[in-house]
């Protein structure tokens, strides 16, 4: 009877297309909004992932990575003295204004890396040599700085600008993950970074550390917290802390959540209603099938097959359209779009819920259907 069920489904082309459009729209909306949401979350913690170090040591009251609370300069040595720490290096991170030769000002994030190791440097360099930041007045930029500060004709290797009235010369352009605020990042050595910024009592933003081989990173962060009284997080913990902060303190979660919920409800409403109409309009035919000996169980199986067939088709088309959208937006770099398998799995579960709900309404109707209807 599966053959009959599918022929009935595809035979009513108008309703089939309406169902398909409703479910495709729901899937596309949920995947598209979910992927943009996750992309924004990844952007929000890119200051952590771009540095690619396993342990972040911070002020114990820190809320998120971009809200820097400076710590005492002795923290580096205190962390180094914790058993299980392989190495620990200082990191400066702060906001500053850059003045270009054309007179324009741009806010930048200044990142100061420990000069002997350059730990925390970006993995990929698009132009120049990152190591050249060891030269006098040398800095490296991320590619977003080029985009935000005037484009490749204005900002390139060799460009000179000012940071707090001090000279900065671009020696490299690195490839990094865009940040949530999209503020350009200027990399230099730790020592030079604290010379660029106005004098402050405390200049150390973070201590970056790595556990010795064989020592679990969670164990080392626990020891650092206990022995130094500082905050210590694995990179993953710090990333999630930052993501939760963004979710709690901005309307982004509610906004995207509402849109995703709307997609789910609209999909369920369209699919449920159309499917119910489809069943009601075929009630005499279903009654005839029942009279001819089709059990309610078989009819339920037919309805579920119809619902899941159109549902999975809508799932495929919806994901395809959302992916094309994502590909186009990712190419332009305007919107973050990260389609994860977890999201696709979640959407599949949501879609199956929509299909099951739609099918159940029809199945209840058919279970109560008196086959005697065919004689009326």
């Amino acid at each position: 009877m599966n053959y009959v069920a599918l022929k009935m489904l595809f035979g009513d082309r108008a309703k089939y297309l309406m169902l398909l459009c409703g479910l495709t729209f729901a899937v596309m909306l949920i995947v598209q909004q979910g992927s943009i949401f996750w992309g924004l979350m990844i952007w929000s913690q890119s200051s952590i992932s771009n540095l690619n170090v396993p342990i972040w040591v911070t002020d114990p009251g820190i809320a998120q990575v971009d809200e820097v609370k400076p710590i005492a300069g002795t923290a580096v040595d205190r962390v180094r003295s914790v058993p299980g720490v392989e190495w620990a290096v200082p990191l400066y991170k702060g906001l500053l204004r850059a003045r270009l030769s054309n007179g324009e000002y741009h806010q930048i994030t200044l990142a100061g890396l420990e000069s002997s190791t350059l730990i925390g440097r970006p993995a990929d360099v698009l132009e120049g040599r990152f190591e050249d930041i060891l030269q006098p007045d040398a800095v490296a930029l991320d590619q977003w700085a080029v985009e935000r500060m005037g484009g490749p004709t204005v900002i390139k290797v060799g460009t000179i600008f000012e940071l707090n009235d001090k000279l900065a010369r671009v020696v490299a352009i690195a490839k990094t993950q865009k940040s949530f605020t999209n503020i350009p990042v200027v990399y230099t050595t730790y020592e030079r970074a604290i010379r660029y910024v106005p004098r402050e009592r405390r200049t150390l933003s973070y201590v970056l550390a790595k556990p010795k081989d064989g020592v679990p990173v969670e164990e080392v962060t626990r020891r650092i917290r206990e022995q130094t009284g500082l905050g210590a997080f694995t990179a993953e913990e710090f990333e999630w802390k930052t993501i939760w902060w963004v979710l709690k303190n901005t309307g982004i979660g509610i906004n995207f959540g509402t849109t995703i919920l709307l997609g789910f409800i609209v999909g369920m409403a369209i699919a449920g209603q159309t499917f119910y109409l489809f069943t009601v309009e075929n009630l005499r035919q279903f009654g005839a099938l029942k009279a001819m000996g089709t059990s309610t169980f078989t009819l339920a199986r037919m309805i579920l097959l119809q619902a899941f067939t159109v549902g999975l088709t809508g799932y495929g088309v919806g994901i395809g359209l959302a992916t094309v959208f994502g590909f186009l937006t990712a190419q332009s770099g305007g919107l973050p779009f990260i389609e994860t398998w977890q999201l696709l799995l979640l959407v599949l579960v949501a879609l199956l819920a929509i299909c099951t709900f739609s099918a159940l309404i029809s199945i209840i109707k058919l279970a109560r259907l008196e086959p005697a209807i065919v004689f009326r």
């Binding site: 053959y3 009959v4 009513d12 000996g293 008196e370």
Partner: protein, 239 residues
């Protein structure tokens, strides 16, 4: 009639059926006794609302009765659980409806194959047997047509083929000529007599159409929920 010396294929005793409750309760069948024999075509006639369709539904086992017993081919329907009754109906009965009730998305051959698919016969074999049955009702050249592309008479022929394709022993026809004009109704009844009647099968036809009475063997009149008469039908050249 010789067949009446055999046990009845359908044996109904004391059938009572009401709809509604309290002041709105309507008793549609008021103690029906009826025997139908293999090899015969029984016409069930009577005024509208007299209970013909209700009796037909009860005999088919698709409507529960309030009182009485119905045996079909020796099986007491009231004692069968709902699932087994559905299976029994699929294996032993064929249906022809006033409105045909063909599935609009299926071709004529596919529609005819449906009862076989319900019996879990594979699609290729079901379609082969469906085409053979369509050939018997003179529609072999319309096997791949959708119902909407067939005339009303052709649609009823497809419905007859569907009702007969699994060789049912009880053929139940509800106003089979009601949607057809006179000549087409005659043709359909001729076809039903030609391919539907068999010594191993009994046919029940509910009808208003007095022009087709001569196709039956016996005529049962149902009035106000009771069978008021059952008479053999005299044919030209007999009696």
């Amino acid at each position: 009639m010789d067949s009446q010396t055999q046990p009845a294929a359908v044996r109904a005793r004391g059938i009572v059926k009401s709809f509604g409750t309290g002041d709105t309760k309507v008793t549609v069948l008021r103690g029906i006794d009826l025997d139908i024999y293999l090899g015969e075509m029984l016409l069930l006639v009577g005024e509208s609302g007299g209970g013909k369709t209700t009796l037909l539904s009860a005999i088919a086992g698709i409507l529960d009765i309030d009182d009485g017993d119905i045996d079909v081919l020796g099986v007491p329907l009231g004692e069968l659980p709902a699932g087994k009754r559905t299976t029994f109906r699929g294996q032993t009965m064929g249906f022809i409806y006033q409105q045909f009730n063909l599935l609009p998305a299926l071709t004529a051959a596919e529609n005819v194959a449906v009862p076989l698919l319900i019996q879990k016969i594979g699609l290729p074999e079901a379609l082969r047997r469906a085409r053979a049955m369509l050939d018997r009702v003179g529609l072999n050249d319309r096997a791949e047509f959708l119902p909407k592309n067939l005339s009303v008479g052709q649609q009823q022929r497809v419905a007859i083929a569907r009702a007969l394709v699994n060789e049912p022993r009880l053929l139940i026809c509800d106003e089979p000529t009601a949607a057809l004009d006179g000549p087409n109704g005659e043709k359909i009844m001729e076809l039903l007599r030609e391919v539907g009647r068999s010594p191993d099968r009994c046919v029940i036809v509910v009808t208003h159409d007095s022009r087709i009475f001569h196709f039956g063997d016996r005529l049962a009149r149902l009035t106000d929920g009771r069978i008021v008469s059952i008479e053999p039908i005299a044919r030209e050249g007999t009696a």
